[in-house]
């Protein structure tokens, strides 16, 4: 299904992967489990021969979700619920849902109540990562997930099953990192839209198949410009959706050279040590190699320091922050982040997105205005 995609097909699937997932499910007879952001150990789900699919919202109209989640809830959370309740309600065999913020505090309960005949499990990853106890807890929760999936499917997994799954996921992250590196240096070879479509699709379809496409895409890359016309920028936030936003980036020749998106580099940071004999331990250790995620408590200056370091390392010209409206967690961070960026002399642009209501023309106007002024100022 996804082993022979070119860039065009990958973009098409990334915009709406669900029809292809349904076809894959019919073809293979395998189960499909949906998860919301972030940090669900998908290697574990995959080891059970189940396809883990990260739910990344829908831009289709909301029908049922508003009666369950009010309009001041994060639009990603609302649209994910709508996606599962209305648009893809026959696709998922189960859900594994993390608790990360106030919006998701009772999300698993809401889904469990509304999907009474479906497998719904929570994963309660620690919301602090600055102490030893968090390490203990990640391992406990990973083992609870294994036990829960085992009970649901009626089968158990062997260390080899997990090892094979980890290897596929690691390969996927390495291939994507490789493509990212090419795009970083040669932005005319891979566009922002192409790269971020591949990153998104990788979180939603069978990685074993997609890895074949990634290898072919990599091997088929030809033109290698130096990207001197492009403006290097660092992207930050949780996710950048819809993917058409990257068309706007491409239109004004921005080159995303680094990011801290949960659906971007933070995902790629999740490579697991395959050589470790205890892979649950290795999955736990991986959890702490990932970067900043606003709802998880860590060093309170970590995001600023991470962005400063990326800005410097890749000689970026600006930081672009993509905000999801009503993401309360990030709303506590942003004012300090803006001040810190200003203090460092780092140009900072904030894009506000909202599923269902985003106006791309508005985003285009603001992006144009910001980067025109940046170019005029000779930065």
């Amino acid at each position: 299904m996804w082993e022979n995609l070119d860039f065009g097909q990958a973009i098409e699937y990334a915009a709406d992967p669900y029809a292809s997932i349904r076809a894959w499910k019919n073809e293979t007879g395998k189960k499909v489990v949906g998860s919301t952001l972030a940090d669900v150990p998908e290697e574990v789900i995959y080891a059970f021969d189940i396809l883990p699919v990260t739910l990344l919202g829908t831009h289709k109209p909301l029908r049922k979700a508003p009666s369950l989640l009010p309009d001041n809830a994060c639009s990603l959370a609302r649209s994910n619920l709508e996606l599962a309740l209305t648009y893809e309600n026959d696709l998922f065999d189960g859900f594994v849902l993390p608790q990360v913020c106030d919006t998701t505090q009772h999300m698993c309960d809401i889904w469990r109540i509304n999907f009474p005949d479906t497998y719904v499990e929570s994963i309660l990853l620690p919301r602090q990562v600055d102490r030893q106890s968090a390490r203990y807890w990640v391992k406990e929760e990973t083992m609870r997930l294994i036990s829960s999936l085992s009970q649901w499917t009626g089968k158990s997994i062997t260390p080899d099953d997990l090892k094979r799954s980890v290897a596929i996921h690691n390969e996927n992250k390495r291939l994507l990192s490789e493509l990212y590196q090419i795009k970083r240096r040669h932005p005319e070879t891979i566009t922002n839209k192409q790269l971020f479509s591949l990153l998104k699709l990788s979180m939603q379809v069978d990685k074993k198949e997609l890895n074949e496409s990634l290898k072919k895409i990599r091997d088929g890359l030809k033109s290698h410009s130096d990207g001197r016309n492009h403006v290097p920028v660092v992207l930050t936030g949780i996710t950048c959706d819809p993917l058409e936003i990257f068309d706007l980036f491409d239109e004004i020749e921005l080159n995303v050279v680094a990011d801290t998106l949960v659906t971007g580099s933070r995902n790629l940071q999740g490579i697991v040590d395959e050589d470790k004999s205890d892979l649950v331990e290795a999955l736990m250790e991986r959890h702490f190699r990932r970067g900043f995620f606003s709802p998880i408590h860590d060093d309170v200056f970590k995001n600023v320091e991470a962005l400063k370091a990326l800005y410097k390392e890749y000689s970026a010209k600006a930081v672009v922050y993509v905000h999801i409206e009503f993401c309360e967690s990030e709303e506590y961070d942003v004012p300090d982040l803006k001040v810190a960026m200003k203090k460092e002399g780092i140009p900072f642009h904030m894009l506000v997105t909202e599923y269902q209501t985003l106006s791309l023309s508005h985003v285009r106007t603001r992006l144009h205005a910001f980067f025109e002024s940046l170019r005029e100022s000779g930065r």
Partner: protein, 403 residues
């Protein structure tokens, strides 16, 4: 009895002495630790750290109708108007210095517990950055139904309490005294039981207390838990209420509707709501929110375990189904016949469960629910006419059902 102070005077005295001590903490060689209303504050008390609750200060400011003014000050710093009103009030107070009380001293350390919400963690992170103050997050995963998972959650929570003790020792450069903790826990357990007894006075007919009495009465439980004076205060309060019960004195002479309230109150509409509901013969008796401090510590257990069990299982950290069980228990014990479900824009952690909770409670009790949306502290999000109309319509529905 005549020489004994009233609960009201006792509350004033305790609060004054507490705030005086907090403002002079450094002169007394003590530190000020900010903490969240539901948190293992007994550790602070046992370690002679004076706990200060920015939430309580915010309540005073919001009840004093300063919500919009302070929020606008916060918004001028780039924060949005849909953050928690407590946080908006607090950040606005720090910018303007405006307060309904004498303010609160700055923190030397910060403790956030996410059993009530994660907003407090984010709000305290802002304060940690502002003052470069050390911060500890006591992470309490949702207290899900699975028995084995619960045991693991408690184990994780206890592990963190040990880390917290080590953190406090590092920050204060003093050794923690476990014997002192046992003493503090004794007071905390005793006052919590008395507090619960006070809340349970609402089971009498007519009820001698309304939720508004409970909201005033809970303050000492929040900020003086673990002290002897807290025990004295609740003993006095219980005695006063019992005297009312003995004399058949209720909040309303003609108590017609005994109501459940879901969520935190609309602080700036406190007395207006009591009067409006009272005019229909309605009295709000209780909520799960006020019961959050009805803690039942098992003193036979290790204090850290006893604390973890109580704080991790608070209503806001329980599943929606468990929360419904807790509410249904109150409906039965207090014989309530109406419910008002407040969708509080400020409090996402509690409010996003409300639509699902309403459906369960209506189904299980057979009682219709009034649902309204507003903000607990910001009058800009309160529509007077709309809410009044809905309350009127709700009582008409209840009247019709009684016929």
């Amino acid at each position: 009895m005549s020489d004994k102070m009233s609960s009201k005077d006792l509350s004033k005295k305790i609060t004054k002495e507490y705030m005086d001590e907090a403002f002079h903490a450094h002169d007394l060689g003590k530190m000020v630790g900010y903490t969240t209303a539901v948190s293992p504050v007994e550790l602070f008390v046992a370690h002679d750290i004076i706990p200060i609750y920015p939430e309580n200060h915010a309540v005073a400011c919001l009840s004093g109708r300063m919500g919009t003014e302070l929020s606008l000050a916060t918004e001028s710093m780039g924060y949005t108007s849909h953050l928690c009103a407590y946080a908006r009030s607090d950040l606005g107070y720090r910018k303007t210095g405006k307060t309904a009380t004498g303010g609160i001293p700055d923190p030397d350390l910060l403790l956030a517990c996410n059993a009530q919400c994660f907003t407090l963690t984010k709000w305290f992170q802002v304060l940690a950055r502002k003052g470069n103050v050390p911060m500890f997050v006591w992470d309490t995963p949702e207290y899900i139904k699975d028995k084995k998972a619960r045991e693991e959650i408690i184990k994780y929570c206890v592990m963190q309490l040990r880390e917290m003790i080590a953190w406090m020792e590092e920050v204060t450069k003093r050794k923690f005294d476990y014997d002192r903790l046992k003493e503090v826990m004794k007071y905390s357990a005793e006052s919590s039981l008395l507090y619960k007894k006070f809340l349970d006075m609402a089971q009498y007919k007519p009820s001698p207390i309304s939720i508004f009495d409970a909201l005033i009465g809970m303050a000492i439980a929040v900020y003086r838990r673990g002290t002897q004076e807290c025990v004295e205060y609740y003993q006095t309060l219980v005695d006063e209420c019992q005297a009312k019960v003995d004399r058949g004195i209720g909040v309303l002479k003609n108590e017609k509707y005994r109501l459940y309230w879901e969520n935190l109150p609309v602080w700036f509409k406190f007395s207006d709501h009591a009067k409006l509901l009272g005019s229909y013969g309605g009295v709000i008796l209780t909520s799960l929110y006020v019961h959050a401090w009805s803690l039942e510590f098992d003193l036979d257990k290790d204090p850290l375990l006893a604390m973890a069990e109580q704080y991790a299982s608070v209503f806001s950290n329980s599943t929606i189904e468990d929360r419904a069980d807790m509410a249904v228990d109150l409906f039965k014990r207090y014989d309530m016949n109406g419910m008002i479900m407040f969708m509080n824009r400020s409090c996402k952690a509690v409010s996003f469960a409300v639509p699902s909770l309403r459906d369960i409670l209506v189904k299980r009790t057979g009682i219709p629910a009034l649902v309204f949306e507003s903000d607990m502290g910001d009058p800009r999000f309160y529509s007077e006419t709309q809410i009044r109309t809905r309350i009127e319509a709700y009582f008409e529905t209840l009247d019709r059902l009684r016929l």
